[in-house]
């Protein structure tokens, strides 16, 4: 239900969610991408997740309006390691750079691997922390 609401809200914001990409995005993803996906979940998802009202996703929706480039970074197939590295280490607009004590060079390589992997290997979109923990606790209560 939440995903449907989120998707409706994203569409209301003019963010295109490509149905074909949704269809391939289930499960945990390829094991070799797990570390990179965890880096993405911790450091990128809070602004770039597949949810409404997030700074990064909102900004990129405006930036790529009228193109077929998705607003959600996890849906992008046009990113390269140098481009991701540049934005992580230099920032853009309100997004500050990330220090090597936050995302180490090794973790940055893992992130690059995740965001440049074939979509079908990435698995389901990562959740926001609040959603993940509320779901976890709800399961625990049952």
């Amino acid at each position: 239900m939440r995903l449907l609401v989120a998707s409706a809200a994203l569409l209301a914001l003019g963010i295109g969610v490509v149905a074909a990409q949704e269809a391939t995005r289930t499960g945990p993803g390829a094991p070799e991408l797990a570390e990179g996906k965890a880096v993405y979940a911790h450091w990128c998802a809070p602004c770039h997740a597949n949810e409404p009202g997030l700074a990064g996703t909102m900004s990129l929706a405006v930036k790529y309006e009228g193109t077929d480039i998705p607003a959600v970074l996890e849906d992008r197939t046009d990113l390269s390691a140098p481009v991701i590295t540049f934005f992580v280490r230099n920032g853009v607009a309100w997004m500050p750079p990330f220090r090597p004590t936050e995302i180490s060079d090794t973790e940055l390589e893992q992130l690059n691997a995740y965001l440049t992997a074939p979509l079908e290997d990435r698995g389901a979109h990562v959740p926001l922390l609040g959603e993940e923990m509320v779901e976890l606790n709800a399961r625990g209560e049952q």
Binding site: H42, A55, M58, V62, G91, P96, R99, E102, G130
Partner: protein
């Protein structure tokens, strides 16, 4: 590279080499690409010669390494600038106040050392972010809540040291107020513990804050006197339910009594959540920026024409359902005599939150960290003209109707006269329970010309506010001297006492030089107001 002032290249290189041997080569950053990530991304000095740059960054893994690095710096008079997670955006980020300082990056020290369910407290290292702690509490099945500020990537320790605030219960949401017990490495490298932490074997470090003698926790708030390596906090036990409500009144003149009653109710523990005061009729153009408060007859006419309330007080309650419903009933009784008063119950939820409830609540009011707040600076947020960041102007004003109206009018008039844009303007923030803090977000740009104008304007506003008795509780490095100067009672005795303490505890002036206007002796010349 910006070398520390007065330090020879040989001494600096020798010190860095020694620090490298302490923390390991991997955790010393002195190359331009790495140091670029330590710049204050929202600096009002961006790209100008005065921008504050680190000469290097050192990231120790534990207290022993911090002590060794501090001793190394002290022996050579190398200035250090400790940061916790370095995410104090709008107030300086990860950059030092004194250019050339070596940033002591404590992000790797990210252990949750203790969570005590019975005492409702915790003990953490400075690298623990709100995201980290929230995950720790939820994954461990804890029944404790965490109060969080808007951006969840900040450090619990760093945010409390800078007196940050959140949104939940009084005593917890003013983060410095929830501190119980500090461990710090002093400038000589020795380890110091406040409160009951000074008594070996005590089990009450996170229970009784004061210990014996002068309460020295304050030495470390917004200070230059130590490197905080552990901090205890009180945590709030998860309540049974939460209720959010509002009271709307429809006359200009209602504001004074609206707030007087609100104060009495909060200080009498009738409600425990963060209250709010806003003006629906003055927020029509921009919901996050109150426009100037007009004359009473004008405002009352606007109310009559639009139907919007003149003022809205919001009340939040956390506790057993029976209790908070009774509290809300009492609040309504206290405001029943206002003509046309309107009461609204905006949300009621049982806890723990269900996934469905999470979709309709404001996360920070339930202690859930996020970065949602940054959406207000995003392309796609209304008609907002994107900037390159923002700084906060945050002045303490009286918690009264007159306080709001006076501060609103002065700030609105002066900012318009000076051409200072504000994209967020809230004169009555109540993270800190006994006063209002006026919050204004000023957009910054990576454009020296615009930033020069911004700096001049903000400095003028600091002086104007001071002439009304309003001082900032926190500010970006570019304004720290001006703000400290405004606290000028008895020929700036506050700063002079701070300098005396600085000289006694850090005679070589190695720690956080210049933070909040306190400079070591050798850098004080010519800085007097």
């Amino acid at each position: 590279m910006a070398l520390p002032p007065g330090l020879s290249e040989v001494t600096f290189a020798d010190g860095i080499a020694e620090m490298r041997s302490i923390v390991g080569n991997e955790w010393v950053f002195d190359q331009p690409a790495d140091l670029n990530t330590y710049r204050d991304f929202y600096s009002v000095l961006w790209g100008e010669p005065e921008e504050k740059h680190a000469s290097a960054a050192i990231a120790p893994a534990n207290v022993e390494e911090v002590q060794a690095v501090v001793r190394t710096a002290n022996e050579r008079s190398i200035p250090l600038y400790p940061i916790s997670t370095g995410r104090n955006l709008g107030y300086g980020g990860a950059a030092p106040v004194l250019s050339g300082s070596v940033v002591l990056d404590l992000k790797r020290m990210n252990k949750v050392l203790d969570v005590n369910e019975s005492n409702c407290s915790c003990l953490v290292e400075p690298g623990v972010s709100y995201f980290d702690m929230y995950r720790h509490l939820r994954e461990s099945g804890s029944k404790l809540w965490l109060d969080v500020p808007d951006p969840g990537w900040g450090s619990m320790v760093g945010n409390a040291l800078d007196s940050g605030g959140g949104y939940t219960v009084g005593g917890y949401r003013g983060h410095w107020e929830a501190v119980c017990g500090i461990e710090a490495v002093m400038a000589d490298g020795e380890l110091f513990r406040t409160g009951m932490g000074a008594l070996p074997g005590s089990e009450t470090w996170q229970q009784y804050r004061m210990g014996i003698g002068p309460c020295l926790d304050g030495l470390f708030r917004q200070s230059t006197l130590g490197v905080v390596t552990k901090m205890g906090f009180y945590l709030f036990p998860e309540p049974e339910a939460a209720l959010s409500t509002s009271v709307e009144v429809f006359r200009f003149e209602d504001i004074e009594e609206l707030i007087e009653i609100m104060n009495e109710l909060e200080y009498g523990n009738v409600f425990n959540g963060m209250p709010g005061v806003s003006s629906p009729v003055l927020s029509q153009e921009n919901p996050i920026a109150m426009s100037i408060v007009p004359e009473p007859d004008v405002m009352n006419r606007m109310v009559a024409e639009t139907g919007h309330a003149a003022w809205r007080a919001s009340f939040n309650f956390y506790g057993p359902e029976k209790v908070i419903r009774a509290q809300w009933e009492h609040v309504q009784e206290r405001y029943a005599h206002f003509p046309g008063v309107k009461f609204t119950e905006s949300s009621f939820v049982k806890l723990p939150l269900s996934p469905e409830d999470l979709e309709r609540v404001q996360k920070p009011r339930f202690g859930i960290p996020s970065l949602d707040i940054f959406s207000v600076g995003s392309r796609g947020y209304g008609n907002f003209n994107p900037s390159d960041g923002h700084i906060w102007f945050s002045a303490v004003i009286p918690r009264s109707g007159k306080g709001i109206i006076d501060a609103n009018r002065v700030m609105r008039r002066e900012c318009e006269r000076l051409g200072l844009d504000l994209f967020m303007f809230v004169p009555s923030v109540t993270c800190w329970t006994r006063s209002f803090v006026l919050f204004a977000a000023v957009p910054v740009y990576k454009d020296p010309e615009r930033n020069r104008h911004l700096r001049d304007a903000v400095k003028e506003v600091i002086g104007i506010c001071a002439s009304h008795g309003w001082g900032e509780y926190r500010c970006p490095p570019a304004f720290m001297d001006d703000v400290m100067d405004a606290y000028s009672f008895n020929d700036n005795k506050l700063r002079r006492v701070n300098e005396q303490i600085k000289d006694a505890l850090d005679p070589n002036g190695i720690l956080s030089a210049g933070r909040y206007g306190v400079w070591p002796q050798h850098l004080r010349e010519g800085r007097e107001a």
